[in-house]
Amino acid sequence: MSAYARVPLIGLWFAFLALPLAGWRNSLWIGLGCALVVLIVSVARASVQSGYLAWPAGRVKAGFTTAWSFIEEKSYDKRYWSLFLLLVIALPWTLDRYSTDVLVITGIYIMLALGLNVVVGFAGLLDLGYVAFYAVGAYSYALLNSWYGLSFWPALGVGVACSALFGVILGIPVLRLRGDYLAIVTLGFGEIIRLVLNNWDNVTQGPNGILGIGRPYLGDMRLYKPMHFYYLVLALCVITIFIVNRLDKSRLGRAWAAMREDETVAECVGVNIVYTKLSAFAFGAAWAGFGGVVFSAKQTFISPESFTFFESVIILCMVVLGGMASIPGVMLGAFILTVLPEALRELTLFRPMLLGGAMVLMMVLRPQGLLQAKGGRHHLERDEPQGEAGAGR
């Protein structure tokens, strides 16, 4: 019974914690809610353990696991991908403008999340300032367009180049840092970029942002409808997925994986850590730049407010939720985290709170994410012929 004796105590404890901030009425609800959750969890656990529900619970769990691994397996199968692509191409004809717009945003986030996945998932470098590169891409198009009238397509190249350059500039000083120190430095870097954009009034117009950014042209056609952007973003997404997938399987990708698993060992077997790390930062940043240019062309207005630390956290959350280093997983994460908040419009106020809670829960319950990366450690052992572990010098 001790498991049940805890229940009211836990409820009381959380009510006590909430009391000075939420007022007594809300605290009562919070306490009751916490107690209820704990009660359900402990009843479920106890009934499974005591054998009451062991059989159905086991069946449900086994069924779920089978179904999920089926999905996981199929999500790497090329045939299903082409089917999926056809479906996605047809999709906007069945949707209204607003939903198409949401899907455009989703596409941009898929690009960003796949880019961050290169840094965090493939190379194992936790980057908390990723949104800085997104901002660099967005601002490079916005500024070049409003000052020199540069059009979208060349700006796409320039934006990507600028972001990649910034990635390398950030990468060089942090080469020696590992783990959480690296995370904090990237966070500081992200904040520095945002504060500069916010305060450098002469160039970026500070918090007012930049208005009237030009739309892209395709031949003579001006792209301005959500539908146009849908296909633009879709094309860019397909390119991104293709390249990221090839990268993962390349020599460089294996070097990243080796560095992620153990930097020292990787260096000992001949992975050039400097080159490998810098290329991870550059590739990751390049996709943020990609996304940034498209974002400013789509919005026609950008301000530093779009590039806060919270944005970095959301993108990281997509990677973590979907499954680090797993391309279908990251795409799923990006999709869930952009479409779900749209579906739950009434809960806007609670959104960041729920997101934070979800991050904690995810780390505690399923740290590998929804769709686990294929192979993981074995990937290296199986594919790698001896004596050729990673990128040469």
């Binding site: 007022g23 904040e191 504060l195 709170m353 780390m363």
Partner: protein, 302 residues
Amino acid sequence: MFAQQLVNGLVVGAVYALIALGYTLVYGILQLINFAHGEIYMIGAYVGIAVLAVLGTMGLTQTSLALSIVLVFLIPMIYCAAYGITLERVAYRPLRGAPRLSPLISAIGMSLFLQNYVQVVQGARDKAFPNLLELGSFQLFGAYVNGLQIFILVLAVGLMAALQLFIKKTKLGKAMRATAQDRTMASLVGVNVNRVIAFTFAIGSVMAAVAGVMVGMYYGIVNHHIGFVAGMKAFTAAVLGGIGNVTGALLGGFLLALLESFWAGYVSAVYKDIFAFMVLVVVLIFRPEGILGGSGGEADRT
């Protein structure tokens, strides 16, 4: 000008140092950046407001000022300790032994959760912190110093001294040092490691609570964003002094605040926050072990 910036820097430094203690104590034991620590500080300030509101309606602020000052610090301290312990239990303990990135991500999630929880229940607008202490000000070497600044400095330095004594002299302090040096070994010789870790979170949170109430009194205004920037700066201070090192946190706190204060006074007030982040980046890159070096425990071996 110089003396004025010095005084301002010292007061802010006391606050940074108090928050930095929480980072450094936890890092010393768990090698974990407790990302949500800044939010604990912010919650301290909000609980202070709630306590003052209750005391105000009871009329205690008029009748017994001394008692209300004690309560305004004591109750947030208790609450923040409770928050700190809960935080550790919910978000960090299940992840002990997981890869290093997992607890960090969980910590960011917790920080996001707490910050927005306060926004939901308290509203997004700035909250006024009622003025409790009406102390006069005087001039010292051309700088205006008010009673509140003296009060903050004295209280902060007193607390830091008490913490140092506690860690050096008491049995629990010894257990904390042992756990920081080698967690497995400490548990083998009979230290209840889980309790020590919970206690470390509690102490760090108590210090953060005091800092929160102080900042509320000093600026008279509080919002749910203050935890992020203050947390980053306090973390910078802890790294500057040498993370895991208690004396280093104090040194780093005062040093960072003074540098920042002179930068704001002589160079550019607008880019004050950028300066703090630059200091963080530069220190981490060129001297990641900080001025005084690390704790001498496991943190140094990573």
